[in-house]
């Protein structure tokens, strides 16, 4: 059972993060001579999967713009710099880096985490009209683990408010196949070898102040409450189905 779940996790990641693999900027074209010292570039920042104003009013346009174009871009740029400074880590996918975070230099761990977490975050949200509802299977699992959807949301909020400083709050499928809520500091995540509670993320909310400060300031709880409106339940349900179907 345990082994099976590990396998699911790996395959889900492969699907979920198929676009998070470094692309070789100098990929061979026809018979062009090979550039010996041309570096593998690089992780790239994908556009948001919706418009910057698509999550209004829960998340304002200015926040989305700075969060994606500045913060996420900086993680991507700094990850590329950190890999360039540690050539032995070149050519590896983001997933390969994440699972061995504990062995990585801090600059690689932090920026790889920042890139993975934000990509996952954008894909975890959708405009209100397209946010969907939990699948019957996910809904049943939430009720089984937390008693009710309201209890789940309350526990998720409590974990988010309890994350002192910067970090993330997660809904995960643990090694036992059950749903659990956990939080991680800074740009760590539950896939990392150093995570206190490990599992496959189904949903994550950004508890860095940059995620909400322009609109909510010190009221992190109000941000979490509003954020439920833009959770992409179709995406979360699909992630859950991928974990459980194997």
């Amino acid at each position: 059972m345990r082994n099976n779940i590990k396998l699911f996790s790996t395959s889900i990641l492969a699907i979920a993060t198929v676009f998070l693999i470094p692309v070789c900027a100098n990929a061979q074209q026809n018979n062009a001579p090979k550039a010996i010292d041309a570096p593998m570039s690089a992780f790239t920042l994908a556009p948001l999967p919706y418009a910057y104003d698509a999550l209004e009013p829960a998340i304002d346009t200015q926040t989305m713009t700075i969060h994606h174009d500045k913060h996420h871009q900086a993680y991507v740029d700094n990850l590329n710099k950190a890999i360039a400074a540690n050539p032995a880590l070149g050519g590896q996918s983001l997933d390969q880096l994440i699972v061995k975070a504990g062995t990585l230099p801090p600059a690689v761990r932090n920026n790889a985490g920042g890139h993975w977490n934000h990509t996952f975050f954008w894909d975890s949200m959708a405009p209100v009209a397209k946010s969907g509802t939990p699948s019957p299977a996910l809904n049943a699992a939430i009720i089984s683990s937390f008693g009710s959807m309201d209890n789940f949301k309350a526990e998720f909020k409590k974990a988010g408010l309890g994350r002192f400083g910067s970090g993330w709050v997660w809904l995960i499928v643990g090694a036992d196949g059950k749903l659990a809520i956990t939080s991680t500091p800074n740009q760590d995540n539950p896939l990392m070898d150093i995570a206190e509670v490990k599992g496959t993320p189904l949903l994550g909310n950004d508890m860095w102040e940059h995620a909400y400060y322009l609109k909510y300031q010190n009221k992190r709880g109000d941000y979490i409450d509003a954020w439920w409106q833009v959770v992409n339940w179709d995406a979360v349900s699909k992630r859950y189905a991928s974990v459980t179907k194997k």
Partner: protein, 204 residues
């Protein structure tokens, strides 16, 4: 006796345009106040009640994260308010100027180190100029609520690099905030008092 929110040592618009009254309305009235309220609630009827703020910080470090985080954040914020002044910024004068030149080689070296410490504190935290246990000035950084007090170091100046400290005025531009802090805000008069050994209770 319960702790009270220390007043700002200047008007809330005194540091405009470098540090806005709007930011203070949250940073002082909300964040700092929340740490005070949480601390009072956490220490009520415990062994920490009746101790000084610094005693609580030192006694709770590594043992009681809730009490430590809130007590240290009360002290850190009061220290940060005093690390800024409407007449601040630029090169220091007095004893701190000589000591910085002696221990860093030059004021410019200090500036580079301090900015670097603040910019590279990943996540929430603080950049510090401290008097180390070896009697020399040095630049350090600490995550979240951590303070040099627990290492026996004497804080001289701090800059808050939690995002809430600068996000309304500078958004993602933390290095810009650190630059403005040093050029326009840093309170060298206060630094000289700290260097001379004045105690800082952090609770008023």
């Amino acid at each position: 006796m319960a702790f009270e929110l220390p007043a700002l040592p200047y008007a809330d618009d005194a540091l405009e345009p470098h540090y806005s009254a709007n930011t203070f309305s949250y940073h002082h009235k909300k964040h700092h106040n929340t740490y005070v309220v949480n601390l009072n609630n956490l220490i009520k009827d415990t062994e920490f009640e009746g101790k000084t703020l610094v005693e609580i910080i030192l006694a709770s470090a590594g043992k009681n994260p809730g009490v430590f985080n809130n007590s240290a954040q009360v002290w850190n914020h009061t220290f940060f308010w005093n690390s800024m002044s409407p007449n601040g910024g630029g090169a220091p004068t007095g004893a701190i100027a000589d000591k910085i030149a002696a221990d860093f080689g030059s004021y410019d070296n200090f500036v580079t180190e301090f900015k670097n410490a603040g910019a590279t504190q990943f996540g929430s935290g603080w950049a510090w100029l401290v008097l180390g246990t070896d009697g020399k000035l040095k630049v350090t950084k600490t995550p979240n609520a951590e303070t040099p007090l627990t290492a026996g170091e004497k804080p001289i100046i701090t800059c808050d690099v939690w995002e809430h400290a600068y996000y309304l005025d500078y958004q993602n531009l933390r290095p810009k905030f650190l630059e403005v802090f040093l050029e326009k805000l840093v309170n060298w008069e206060f630094a000289n008092e700290m260097l001379a050994g004045k105690e800082f209770s952090g609770d008023k």
